[in-house]
């Protein structure tokens, strides 16, 4: 068995109904669990970007990414390992205001974790932290141990590659150039 690692799959697609289902069914058939998922419009109008993280081996990720890439409405799908990426997640922590004020170490905590306070009212405090999974988890663990966390939510990963890879807009231009050549 090859070693399993966390891969980040990036998919650019046309904004068509049901595309998420098409993408996830490729993972489901191979019995792969999606760890995180984030979907949003990309910088190019009409094109959506999916960022999905999956624990698997290299052989498997190559196969599933090719199967996703061949779906008609997918413009481009590729995968990266963590070393090739700048990636980030956002976490929100809801805490009890009385407990939070009683801590006495708020300043230390905020500095240590580079967290922000988004909201304070008489009932609750909402903290906000961005970072890698391990970093947002560390703050969660510390708060859980001390005053307890009323609610916790973490976003899916968003990521940007470090390397100079082909930009999607360039790829689209290239596709259209080839097409025009064929039509001539």
């Amino acid at each position: 068995m090859e070693e399993k690692t966390l891969y980040t799959v990036t998919i650019f697609s046309e904004n068509t109904v049901g595309l998420l289902g098409q993408v996830t069914s490729v993972f489901t058939r191979r019995q792969l669990n999606i760890e995180t998922l984030s979907v949003s419009p990309s910088a190019l109008p009409g094109i959506h970007k999916f960022t999905i993280t999956i624990f698997t081996d290299r052989d498997m990720i190559e196969k599933v990414v090719k199967q996703i890439d061949k779906r008609i409405d997918v413009l481009k799908a590729y995968f990266n390992t963590d070393e090739e990426l700048i990636h980030q997640e956002i976490a929100l922590y809801k805490l009890s205001t009385p407990d939070f004020l009683k801590m006495g170490t708020v300043e230390q905590l905020i500095r240590k974790y580079n967290a922000k306070i988004l909201e304070i009212n008489e009932n609750c405090v909402v903290l906000h932290k961005t970072g890698h999974h391990a970093e947002t988890q560390a703050l969660f663990d510390e708060l859980s141990k001390t005053i307890g966390v009323l609610q916790f939510i973490r976003s899916g990963r968003i990521a940007i590659t470090k390397s100079k890879i082909e930009r999607l807009s360039d790829m689209l231009k290239d596709i259209e150039r080839k097409q025009n050549r064929l039509n001539e």
Binding site: G21, Q22, S25, Q179, N183
Partner: protein, 565 residues
């Protein structure tokens, strides 16, 4: 400038623009407006009313496979659409171009569990190349154009167009333009000359190469290019079930069929060759057996138009990504002219062994009941080895692909990937409609025919000339074979008490005859083939016949069972 017409009329006109002349279908509530329009276009488009929607898709598949065109099926929403699922999945795994049009409830009712509503796009998305719901009349021409482009280009496959009733009736400004480009879909990769050079070098250095030919050659209409390649390279060529007939059976370099019930030679030599050249085939598990022991000694060159197939099952030493219509001529230019007389003679030696141990007794038994192979071989010879073979799924299918012989391409219509029992009869109807000038011989088991036997009604209504041969062993034969070999002869639910098939055929006004004696078979075959229309022959064959050779599932391709030696 276009003109204002209804969505349903736009649909039919669009189909005509795509060259559609035949539709297989079945009406129902949500597709009635479209069927009303078909009534006006009888002269241009022939609609064949099947007896069950599954039959519509299988007939469309048979039509696509013999004609090379896109098969079209029309069905209603809900149950009509869900009945097509088997045929769509079959077409997906066997890369058959289909456009299946399903009616859908009016768009205002979508998602409300309306009468005969089913989430057809959701259901069919994983088993189609593309599934799309049309909710506005003005989207119909573009969607149809895309559907035909997607179904027929690249690696072909089925497309579903789910059209709401209001879109069928709505008005639009009609203008039709064929699709030739979708920015997220590049079906025809450019030939990479570096890949060709690398592959050519490996082929030129080969000592004992073997080519594995799949349906990609037929789908790419590259039969001539294949002949040029193998004749110049001198390489022995073996075929997947769906690749059969891309080269005539009697070509001196045709060394037979691959796979679980394939010929001994190609299976054994897969694990002895030094270079394995896969051309438009996908290393299905029924071909490879255990991947861990498959062709480990060989350099593998994989020609395919679908990038996801390369390295999926077998790691390729070199890939040749592209349409074989383009890549085969490119590589033929670069390879040396070679001959492998000794290597080819090893295949002949394997065949002789197989002939003596298995084939002779299957084709020319001197006593006992009639055998499947015997009947198939006789019919193949009686049609000058030039008929279209259609099969259902099971023992008779494997016997059919083993013993039927071919001279022309597109002569085999069978459910290879999905293995759909019930495929045969409706597919034979489509095969005949798609190749009206050819003799179509359907071999079907007593189990399979009863899954879609209602399509005899279609044959009767449209006078479709199909020669139906039931190879009747009163068993679900292939399952019974596995029970005998792997389940201690515990014949769980494989015994069939059958109706009188001759009487059933007669009820449909199809002449029929039952044969259970060797001395009657030749005359019965002659009578069947001489009859100007369809004919059903119910042949009682050996009840516990076995298909050999056999590579048991999941084992090494050299682990070949031959039965009693």
């Amino acid at each position: 400038m276009g003109q204002e017409i209804t969505g349903r009329e736009a649909l039919i006109r669009s189909l005509i623009q795509e060259g559609v002349d035949t539709i297989f279908g079945y009406p129902g509530g949500a597709i009635m407006p479209i069927f009303d329009t078909i009534y006006d276009y009888k002269e241009q488009i022939k609609h064949i009313l099947v007896r069950h929607e599954q039959g519509a898709t299988h007939a469309a598949q048979g039509y696509a496979r013999t004609s090379g065109k896109v098969g079209v099926a029309f069905v209603t929403s809900g149950p009509g659409a869900t009945n097509t699922v088997t045929g769509i999945a079959d077409a997906m795994i066997d890369s058959t171009p289909l456009v299946v049009v399903t009616g859908q409830v009016v768009s205002s009712l979508l998602g409300s569990d309306a009468f005969q509503e089913a989430d057809v796009v959701g259901i069919t998305q994983p088993i189609t190349k593309w599934a799309y719901q049309i909710r506005r009349a003005e989207d119909i021409p573009t969607a149809v154009a895309r559907a035909f482009y997607i179904a027929s280009s690249g690696r072909p496959g089925p497309v579903v167009l789910d059209i709401t009733k209001d879109a069928q009736n709505g008005l639009l400004d009609y203008h039709y333009e064929k699709t030739t480009f979708i920015r997220s879909y590049q079906p025809k990769p450019e030939v990479n000359s570096k890949e060709i050079e690398v592959a050519a070098q490996i082929i030129n250095d080969a000592k004992n190469p073997l080519a594995l030919i799949g349906q990609g050659v037929i789908l790419g209409e590259a039969e001539k290019e294949l002949v040029a390649f193998i004749e110049k390279s001198g390489i022995p060529s073996a075929f997947t079930v769906l690749g059969l007939s891309s080269l005539p059976s009697d070509h001196p370099q045709n060394v037979g069929m691959l796979g679980m019930h394939g010929n001994i030679g190609p299976n054994l030599k897969t694990n002895e060759c030094d270079v394995l050249i896969a051309i438009g085939m996908r290393f299905d598990d029924r071909v490879t057996g255990d991947l861990n022991t498959y062709a480990k000694q060989a350099k593998v060159i994989h020609f395919d138009i679908d990038l996801a197939e390369i390295n999926k099952n077998v790691k390729a030493t070199a890939r040749v990504y592209g349409d074989v219509k383009d890549t085969l001529p490119a590589i033929t230019k670069l390879i040396k002219e070679k001959k492998y007389p000794e290597w080819l003679s090893e295949f002949r030696a394997c065949y002789e062994r197989e002939y003596n141990v298995v084939i002779k007794n299957e084709l020319y038994p001197e006593s006992g009941n009639l055998k499947m192979g015997e009947v198939i071989n006789k019919i193949s010879e009686a049609t000058n080895n030039d008929a279209v073979l259609v099969t259902d799924v099971g023992q008779h299918q494997m016997m059919g692909v083993r013993y039927f012989k071919y001279q022309q391409t597109r002569s085999v219509v069978t459910s290879g990937g999905l293995g759909t029992m019930g495929f045969g009869l409706p597919a034979a109807i489509g095969a005949k409609v798609g190749a009206p000038g050819r003799t179509v011989c359907l071999f079907v088991g007593d189990g399979g025919i009863q899954m879609t036997i209602q399509e005899l009604g279609t044959i009767m209504q449209y006078d479709i000339n199909v020669k139906i041969v039931i190879l009747n062993n009163h068993f679900l034969g292939m399952v019974r074979q596995w029970q005998e070999l792997f389940f201690d002869e515990r014949y769980s639910e494989t015994v069939m008490k059958n109706p009188d098939f001759v009487k059933i055929a007669q009820a449909y006004n199809i002449p029929a005859r039952k044969v259970d004696k060797r001395e009657d078979i030749d005359a019965a075959i002659t009578e069947m083939l001489n009859h100007p229309g369809s004919y059903l022959l119910d042949v009682d064959v050996e009840a516990k016949g076995m298909v050999y050779p056999m590579v048991p599932a999941g084992t090494c391709v050299t682990n070949i069972l031959l039965g009693d030696e």
